[in-house]
């Protein structure tokens, strides 16, 4: 460790891992400040969208359609004359939902499967690896189309497709971490005390595995939104008139030659939010563990 100085008796993990302290550490770098700010604005604007939005995002107003940005409509209007700025604000709510539920679910499933794979019997580990590899080898597009064909496109389906594809990533990291922990002294120490597997997994392995996964989760948030945009492009996205960022981008793309505003307006929040989450994710990674790498 030539990178940082460690005062005696404290490890690289020093201070504590309490959320408040972690936040303090993150806020000590410009990158962290930007990340936290953007993510905070993202969450707040989603939460208070009804209060901030100047228009009803669903209000169709044909005469005002396809307007360029103006004081009336900060980011212009779409094909149905709806206010793009309001739709983006509400889209943020969708994004929060998508991110929260889809990423959260992937994390939870990946965590459980990964931990059992890493700690449990060899055959289960092999089975999980096989499952993860199979999912990865399966063309995502075909999977998405199959799922959507079955049920029609919806937010839930976008989430389901994301979860199916993201679980292997989380699972692999959880597994690797668990494998690494499995032979550490403190786990051995728990064994020597006669602790049950469930107790060891729940209390001693999970808290150590979940940290790296949270970092991956932060970095996956923008990925969900881009996935949603891509699926919308292929007509496999969310239900209209839901103002998701992906569908905004996709709708904008269709009328790009007439007006570039919807694409710009739909793309900017996506890029900014991605930057925010990535910065936050990387800061978290720097705080928790510089060694962790994101698996693609």
């Amino acid at each position: 460790m030539t990178d940082r100085f460690e005062p005696a008796g404290e490890s690289a993990f020093s201070e504590d891992r309490k959320p408040a302290a972690t936040l303090r550490m993150v806020l000590r770098t410009p990158q962290g400040v930007i990340g936290v700010t953007i993510v905070a604005v993202f969450l707040l604007s989603a939460l208070f969208a009804p209060a901030i939005a100047p228009y009803d995002p669903f209000q169709i107003n044909i005469p005002d359609r396809l307007q360029a940005p103006s004081l009336n409509h900060l980011l212009g209007t779409d094909q149905l004359g709806r206010d793009t700025f309001s739709r983006i604000l509400y889209g943020g709510r969708i994004a929060v939902q998508l991110a929260g539920i889809a990423v959260g679910l992937s994390l939870a499933i990946g965590l459980v499967l990964g931990m059992i794979a890493g700690y449990g019997p060899r055959w289960f580990d092999n089975l999980m690896l096989l499952l993860f590899d199979t999912i990865r080898s399966f063309p995502t597009i075909v999977m998405a189309m199959a799922v959507v064909s079955l049920t029609g496109p919806s937010l839930e389906m976008v989430m389901a497709i994301f979860v199916i594809n993201a679980v292997p990533g989380f699972g692999r990291i959880a597994r690797t971490q668990t494998l690494a922990l499995r032979n550490t002294e403190f786990i051995l120490a728990e064994h020597s005390l006669g602790a049950s597997t469930a107790l060891i997994l729940r209390r001693h392995i999970m808290p150590n595995v979940v940290g790296p996964l949270l970092i991956l989760a932060a970095m996956d948030v923008p990925v969900v939104i881009t996935v949603e945009a891509g699926l919308s492009f292929l007509g496999l996205g969310v239900l209209p008139p839901t103002p998701s960022w992906g569908s905004l981008l996709n709708e904008g793309f269709r009328i790009l030659r007439d007006t570039p505003w919807p694409v710009i307006a739909g793309g900017l929040p996506l890029i900014i939010t991605t930057l925010g989450f990535t910065f936050l994710g990387e800061s978290l990674r720097d705080v928790f563990d510089p060694k962790l790498r994101k698996e693609p």
Binding site: T2, T134, V142, A229, P296
Partner: protein, 314 residues
């Protein structure tokens, strides 16, 4: 090494098998009928029944699956339900374009990404590092269909430097190369960011290791330390990433293939699922799964071969 390779190959076969099986299960549940999709109200129950029989969809799932596997073993992937052309032929028409696109995209993005990653890692937290970081993330985020269309408007419509559609005159290398530039750019752009972030992260980690300190303590110049000593170690996980990226592009370059009207395998599969032309879908998924597993395997083996620690012990 041989041991490792054999193990991985065995696993790969199982994975391909599972992928194809999963596909059959999906097909079993996917609603829709190719004739109705193609002909709309002109589809009569009679014609529909004929096509169902053609695709063996009236047989039990396991029968369909084993019939397909039996065909595969004899090198027969069935025929397109409408044109009756052999699926294998159709796939081999599309495959070269996809492979060329994926190769070109990964090649340029890896070259630039590795350079940017090293460059950033050598100056962590400097202004240049930060700018590179923002740009990398930007490239990761912007959906490739948006990039594609802007590239088209700028380079093909306004500047008229590059062609818009197709893969170029068959057999004309330069024409094909010209047609490759924009799609390869659009597809590779996102990967520049990925690779750069990845290389930066692993470089930072490696640069923190003792042997780099040792190399520096022997007075080796910065350039040698970063690009020879550190990169040689840091590149290993990146190779795996590139393998996965390449594998994903085989079926995942759909956006670029649609917008640039390139006859690739990703778009082929997409169209064929849309029209429920299942024999082509089955063949396509089989081939892409094999290629995916093969490329990731190759990347892993390559990474292993480049790492003497693994090379000798395996």
């Amino acid at each position: 090494m041989l041991n490792y390779a054999l193990q991985r190959i065995g696993l790969a076969i199982v994975i391909v098998f599972l992928v194809v099986f999963a596909l059959f299960v999906m097909i079993h549940f996917i609603p829709g009928d190719p004739v109705a999709i193609a002909l709309g109200p002109r589809a009569t129950p009679e014609i529909e029944a004929r096509f169902v029989a053609k695709m063996r969809l009236d047989e039990p799932l396991y029968m369909q699956f084993f019939a397909f596997l039996g065909g595969v073993l004899q090198g027969d992937l069935g025929n397109d339900i409408f044109s009756e052309r052999p699926v294998l032929t159709i796939l081999f028409e599309a495959l070269p374009y996809t492979v060329i696109l994926a190769t070109a995209a990964m090649a340029w993005s890896a070259a630039l990404g590795i350079f940017l990653g090293c460059f950033s890692a050598a100056r962590p937290n400097s202004l240049i590092d930060r700018i590179t970081g923002v740009v990398s993330i930007g490239t990761i985020t912007v959906p490739s269909f948006v990039v594609s269309i802007y590239m088209l408007i700028v380079f093909a419509v306004f500047l008229k430097w590059l062609p818009v559609i197709g893969a170029g005159e068959p057999g004309n290398f330069w024409d094909q190369a010209r047609h490759l530039i924009l799609p390869a750019f659009a597809v590779g752009l996102g990967w520049v960011g990925y690779v750069a972030r990845m290389v930066r992260a692993s470089m930072l980690e490696v640069i923190g290791e003792n042997h780099i300190r040792a190399a520096r303590s022997f007075g080796l110049p910065h350039r040698v330390v970063v690009y020879r000593y550190a990169l040689k170690v840091a590149i290993l996980p990146t190779i795996t990433l590139l393998g996965i990226g390449f594998g994903n592009l085989l079926s995942g370059a759909v956006f670029a293939e649609i917008i640039f009207s390139r006859p690739g395998i990703g778009k082929l599969i997409f169209d064929m699922v849309m029209t429920r032309n299942f024999p082509v879908v089955q063949g396509g998924v089989l081939v892409t799964a094999i290629l995916y597993v093969a490329t990731t395997l190759t990347a892993d083996l390559l990474a292993a071969a480049m790492d003497p620690r693994i090379r000798k012990s395996l």
